[in-house]
Amino acid sequence: MDPNKDNANPTILNPSDLPSRRKGDAISNREDGGTGLFDGLVPTYSYLSDPFDVPPSPTSSEEDSPEAIDEQEIYDLISTISDPEHPLSLGSLAVVNLPDIHITPPTSSRSLISTVTVEITPTITHCSLATVIGLGVRVRLEQALPPRFRVDVRIKKGTHSTDEAVNKQLGDKERVAAALENGTLMGVLRKMLATCE
């Protein structure tokens, strides 16, 4: 249809089918299994807390249980990136998929460096924008993850006609750095990342 687009008519996943954390911790923590429909009914400030006393400090157990960065969190970071061709997210186009995200813990006890591997699946095998998408994912993760993570973005094997060449480009630190100096490219990336929450 539109000759300017590599894939003018991609398949779209429904947001309900995308992997998500069980609605924050709200649901899993509700022992009664309710949805919290009745929660706002009686205002919390009426009887529960007496403002004249020292406000109850959050229970230590709540503060102490750390929530580690996991694959779902990585997915949430990158699935909202927009596709450069469509006003759709990489998640709903199934370009990034939860099973294709892996976190490798530090290899030795002395090292602190974990590795995040993301394999992206272009919507069609000859997609010329695969490199740009890969770059976008990479930039997003480098901005959003603490420095103890090493980011490795690659095209999923067999999903792209020139996947090896693209992977080489994405893995080459200098070429990535050079690409980011390019104003036009940065403009495209900024637009892609603008939809990130």
Binding site: D32, G33, G34, F52
Partner: protein, 1024 residues
Amino acid sequence: MSDIQLYLLEYDKSKKEANRVAQGSAEKLQNKQLKLIDLIESLAEYINNDEPATRGRTMSYLAEVLEAMPPKVLSLQQRGLLCDFILSRIVDDTEGIGSCAKGLLALEERGQWDSARASGVMTTLIDHTNPVRQFRTQSERYPIVQLVDRLMAKYRDAIKNVHSTTPDFLSRFISYFDGEKDPRNLMIVFSILKVPMTEWDTGKDTQDLFDAVFNYFPITFKPPPDDPYGITAQDLKDRLRDCIASTSVFAPYSFPALLDKLDSTSLNTKRDVLSTLRACISNYGFQTISLYAITLWDALKFEILNVQEEDLATESLNCLAGIARQLSLGTQSQLNAYLGPIIKECNQHLEDAPTKQSSSSGRIVKSVAATTPQATNTVISGIVPTFFSLYHTADNFPKRRGLLEVFGSIMKADIEVYGDWRSMHSLRFGDDIAEKPPNAFVEYGEQALHLMSSDLSSAPVKEVSFRLTALDGLLQLSRIREMLSDDQISSLVIDFSNVVVTEESYGKDELKTAAISALVEIAHQKPQLVIDKAFPTFLANLPDTDTGATTKYVPVLEAFAKLADEDKLFQTVIIRLKSKLKAAVHQQASTKFLCDLLTAVFFAFTHRAKKMDIEVNATHYTDLVLPLLSQITDSQDQHNSSLQSEPVLDLVGRICGTIIRPLPLTVHISMSKEAFTLFRGVTNESVPPFSSTFGAEQRYMIVTTQVLASLCKEASPPIKLDDMVTALVKFCLAESVTSGVRAAALKQLSLVINKFIPNAELAKTLEPVLYAPMELLTSAKLNSQSIRVVFAIVKGLILRNSSLLNKTLPSLLEALSNIDYGRTIARGFSTLLQPDDLLTKENYCTVSGLHKQKTFNMLVPPIAASFRAANAATKTNYLIAVAGLLRYLPYNILSHDLSSLTPLLLQSLDLPVEEAYVKEASIGNIIDILTHNPAAIEEHANSVITRLLSTTDQKSNPTQVRAVALICLATIPGSLKQETTIPLRRQVVKRLTAALDDGKRSVRSEAVRCRSKWLDLDEEDEEE
């Protein structure tokens, strides 16, 4: 000196003065001091002057004299002569043409012209002043177009006659306005040209006429900032669009031209094209539209299939629907010729569902079908068979979901045209039901029902979106009027109830939520079926008591309470819940279980409070309020012990309050007599707070508070007010009172002071409490209970803006420096402006609109001043107090004193960890200031940013505080000046990496958002 000489003299000095001279002349004419003939003769010298300016001014004098003439002074003959005179001027000399037109307008106003005169004026204008653009100034052209407009409006037949008798009149008329650029004139020109468009036979001039207006398309006019005429681009667009859409003879020119402009890269142009197309489609008539229908479809579909902007797609869909609506007026074959290609293309897209284009096809199908019965039926018979065959061969759920979505939109379209069960009743009387062709969907109903209901139950629970779509499809099917039988709908109700009640919870439980909403919707259509079929399932899964049972009943209860949203189910839901409650009490169920049941009842009532009528409430008063009250206080009842816990009593009180609130005064008054005794058959003196001892009965004060809250001002309890206040204060101070009951009693105190005590008696009632003999305000009497009482009293006063505050508030401020109790008092300040669920206008309290402003003015400046003077030990108290006040104030109140507030807010960020909630509130205020008035923070930028960063770093701060600090930090790049933020960017971005590794997910996500805001800052800079 003659008037004209005077006029010419004044003209250069002051137009106003000159106009006065003209008015004077008019007066003289009226008084017969001056003869018209003399006036005209006096002009002779100047009107033939060599100086063009003088000639123009002379005409302007004449026009102004005529404008100032009262009606009926000039005779018909005089007016005729004057017209001739002016017209002869126009023929000889166009100097002062604007004034000529003004003069003619004035003459016309003073007496209707005959048609010969009207056509004479018109031809003179067209012959001698063509084109109008030769006159340079807008103010000269304006009266001319006004004059033409007047002729078109009032002498339509005469002018039309000129057109039909003069062969080249129309072409000269069209070119007359060529090149007009002024928006005010254009507005009139468009409306002038609309007359020949709609009323004249335009013949060979049609295209010229069309071009004359279309040359202005698209309008790109931007009004100047101080535009005196207030004409907007939209005004011009509307008039232009009306012209283009005015006549179907334009179709051969307008459609190609518009579609050509649809390819424009400017989105605004496309918007104008689409709205004009829509107007053309609804005005040109179906015969014309049928010629262009396919062309239009071919062009418009791109806007929908490759959505560029959502509003363009929506407007394109409206156009397609408009065509369908028009063609339905014609023959079936005209309609088929249009819908055929649409159906064919959409069927093709359906084959590769779910794609972007298959879902767009759904939208197309929906909008063309939701127009007329003919269109609906054509679309149904074209698409539905393909849907079924594709569906049966589809091998995966996403594909089926994509197909079902389109199917669902067809059903929605069908409902829009044929109505649902609920609308059936109203349609049957007088509407067009008899004339509609039978609904083509009926033939597929059975098949669709089997297909979707078996898929809903057989698909695995993890196929959320598929099952959601199937469920929605079934819901739509059940809504279509006269489609399914009651038995079929009943089986759907059972299916949906099972989803809600028995199905395992999965993911976000979207399906359960959807199933409940679907039940509510079906209840809307067929209430009895839901009562008969769904209620038994729900009730069977609600236990009578929770002892020993492990069933998770809460989701079922929530769903059941939601069903009460539907009017016709409300009563039944309440009755069933009541009997559950009875059983639970009988079986000594736990407090938690009783609370849940009562909450469900309360939920049902609060959600219906707005649409509830008084009679229904009155029945609930006798059926629910009175029995509940007597049940809780009945000491003989051996089962009622489970009802005695404080949370249960609170809920009972709230339910009673909601029911009592809207009832008439008589009920309120009889209730007020029993507010404390609660129908126990005893005297007020024998129950708390009036009795001498406060035993177990003190807990009923919780119910009393809610009951008093719901009563209107006039229904004050029949007890002397000062006795009531004194008793309440003593009760609140008593050691034997539990904290829950005390909280309720304090609320009661605020309520009584705010609502029941008249202004005149306020001082008399409160002085014995605050000062001698009780002396609660003296520092020697301060203790943790008395502080609470004082704040409860002040809260009641603040809301009614009482003058007593002038005396009480300073004492409170003074107490902030108290070594022992200063901190408690400081925290108390947060209660003063805190939103309150009981002290509200709905509860008949006095809530002054200015109370926040006034409290701010009375408290904040003195606190800021004392803070500066305070010693280190008490400084914190002031910070806590001010933060407690500010957290509930909107920005417009804060804005009065930003310069002294900002340092306080900043310092409160340095408070120790145990005051974390104070920090949270202060950060909230800083965000407020940043969004409304960043300049106030500008000078503190460094210190704000540093403090926020360290707040996010300190893990001892609670999660929420760390998160809100990051939110605040994220608003800074968008609000403060770049020269302030850019130098700090590197440092902020670097320090934020620590927050990226925070232990809490919610903090991390804020950190990511915040960091990207700061990173973007630099990029924007590079662009510049």
